[in-house]
């Protein structure tokens, strides 16, 4: 079933929408949650919440590309659950390492509370991604959006883990340089 048909099922308020999205994107959403949470049980909970949130969002929304829409909901729910559980124990799949790596990019900055600042930062990141070659961009997004492990990215991209790590390190430095030049960090 194509995505437009699935979205239409949501608009028709048909319960088959959940069945269809589970069948097509269940593993996809589960992988995202699992990368962040590192717990199958927590991931399952997040995926179920994703379906509910999607049900509540469509309508009124009508996403043109369904996977990022679902993935973003799963990711946000997973981050929320991560925050909740992280206060109690150490864990969280690949996320601690991913967060440490991203911390290097904006080391020393005091706050990201301003909505305007966050918006400008997002624009710079999107611009940075647009300037990357496709294969490098995939590596960056796999790591810092999907929180994929370096091993998984290496297999996906047919590279060595070492090469993936080097590429990520290089891209983090490039992003930091770009943010510095843009005056967003100092």
């Amino acid at each position: 079933m194509d995505d437009a048909a699935i979205v239409q099922l949501f608009w028709d308020r048909s319960e088959k929408a959940i069945e269809a999205v589970t069948k097509k994107y269940g593993r996809f959403c589960h992988a995202i949650a699992m990368n962040i949470l590192g717990s199958a049980q927590d991931a399952e909970e997040c995926v179920n919440d994703t379906y509910l949130a999607t049900w509540n969002s469509i309508p009124p929304k009508r996403p043109s590309i369904l996977p990022p829409f679902l993935g973003r909901i799963t990711r946000n729910l997973s981050i929320n659950l991560y925050k909740k559980t992280h206060a109690e124990k150490r864990g969280g799949g690949n996320l601690p390492l991913v967060l440490d790596e991203l911390g290097e990019v904006i080391a020393g900055e005091e706050s990201a509370d301003s909505e305007l600042f966050r918006k400008e930062l997002l624009e710079q990141i999107n611009e940075f991604l647009s300037e990357l070659p496709s294969d490098k961009r995939k590596i960056f997004v796999c790591r810092y959006w999907y929180a994929d492990s370096v091993k998984d990215i290496a297999e996906r991209m047919n590279m060595t883990e070492n090469n993936v790590s080097v590429s990520l390190n290089r891209m983090r430095n490039q992003l930091r340089t770009k943010l510095l030049e843009g005056g967003l960090i100092s």
């Binding site: 079933m1 194509d2 097509k24 994107y25 593993r27 996809f28 992988a31 590309i65 996977p67 990022p68 829409f69 993935g71 973003r72 990711r75 946000n76 981050i79 925050k83 996320l95 991913v98 967060l99 440490d100 790596e101 991203l102 911390g103 290097e104 990019v105 904006i106 900055e109 005091e110 706050s111 990201a112 966050r118 930062l121 997002l122 990141i125 999107n126 991604l129 647009s130 300037e131 990357l132 070659p133 496709s134 294969d135 490098k136 961009r137 995939k138 997004v141 796999c142 810092y144 959006w145 999907y146 047919n158 590279m159 060595t160 070492n162 090469n163 080097v166 290089r170 430095n173 490039q174």
Partner: protein, 287 residues
């Protein structure tokens, strides 16, 4: 501000980038999805060949072996299998120190600060594919770390085989002039009508200031079954040569050299096949 804040901000990046990164996952789940179009000369598979850094002795061994192979008439131009050892180049492999931690003077470490970045440029593709038809006599000590010079004769074999070499486009150059090229992407295309076998070793040579070609490194796919090293007619194979991250290549003109053989017969039945032609081919590229 923490990594967690940045991770949350990244959550809102453009949908297309999110889609692009994992597209194959959910397209594979969609039963109605069709396969991607395949070009006539389809890329068969990607292989990874690790870089074996030659030590000073290793480089000298390459030079000796290359010279020895030339003297024995094993490499250069069309040859008859009966008079040659098909796996003669393995001699070179065995002579190279496989320890990748030993530095070589021709491959300086990339310790300088990045001063310029050439991100966004297109990967360089080689425009030449030539046979190595002859070598000149060594002019100096055969064990010199620079190796023996090789003369490339531009014999056109483009109607039979193409060898292109490229490297990732986001290469950075360091203050000492070295680069951080970590891999070379090689595409070997069989334009001929017969199965093409290639040997498990690629030799990287650099052209020095005098125009001499000096072997500096070898890429060896250890343990690879030779019978797997073939490219069918009108097919291509993509091979990734993995350069050790600790080392970098200086800017310059390089040649990637590999021995290939055409056989008449079924693919995978090389033992009963008849050798038609054998070439040592080289793809030239610049860093």
């Amino acid at each position: 501000m923490t990594g967690k804040d940045l991770f949350e901000i990244i959550s809102d990046i453009d949908d297309n980038y999110i889609n692009e990164a994992h597209e194959e996952d959910y397209s594979a789940l969609d039963a109605s999805s069709s396969k991607a179009p395949v070009s006539a000369a389809s890329v068969k598979r990607a292989k990874l060949i690790r870089f074996v850094l030659p030590t000073v002795a290793g480089i000298a061994a390459i030079a000796i072996a290359v010279f020895g192979l030339w003297k024995a008439g094993i490499i250069g131009g069309k040859k008859d299998l009966i008079k040659q050892q098909c796996d003669s180049a393995i001699v070179v492999t065995g002579a190279i120190d496989p320890d990748p931690t030993t530095p070589a003077t021709t491959m300086p470490m990339s310790t300088g600060d990045i001063t310029t970045t050439t991100e966004g440029i297109e990967p360089h593709a080689s425009a030449q594919c030539s046979t190595i038809a002859d070598f000149i006599e060594p002019t100096g000590n055969e064990t010199d770390t620079n190796g023996d010079p090789i003369v490339i004769i531009d014999t056109d074999v483009s109607s039979l085989v193409n060898l292109t070499v490229s490297y990732p486009p986001d290469v950075s150059f360091y203050e000492d002039g070295s680069s951080d090229v970590t891999e070379l992407d090689v595409v070997l295309t069989n334009v001929g009508d017969h199965p093409l076998y290639y040997e498990n070793e690629f030799t990287l040579c650099v052209k020095n200031e005098n125009g001499d070609v000096v072997p500096v490194a070898a890429f060896v796919n250890e343990g690879e079954n030779r019978l797997n090293c073939y490219v069918g007619p009108s097919e291509s194979i993509s091979i990734i040569l993995d350069i050790h991250d600790t080392y970098s290549l200086d800017p310059g003109t390089y040649l990637l050299v590999v021995n290939v053989q055409y056989f008449d017969g079924e693919i995978g039945d090389i033992d009963s096949a008849t050798l038609l032609e054998k070439y040592t081919i080289a793809g030239e590229f610049n860093i």
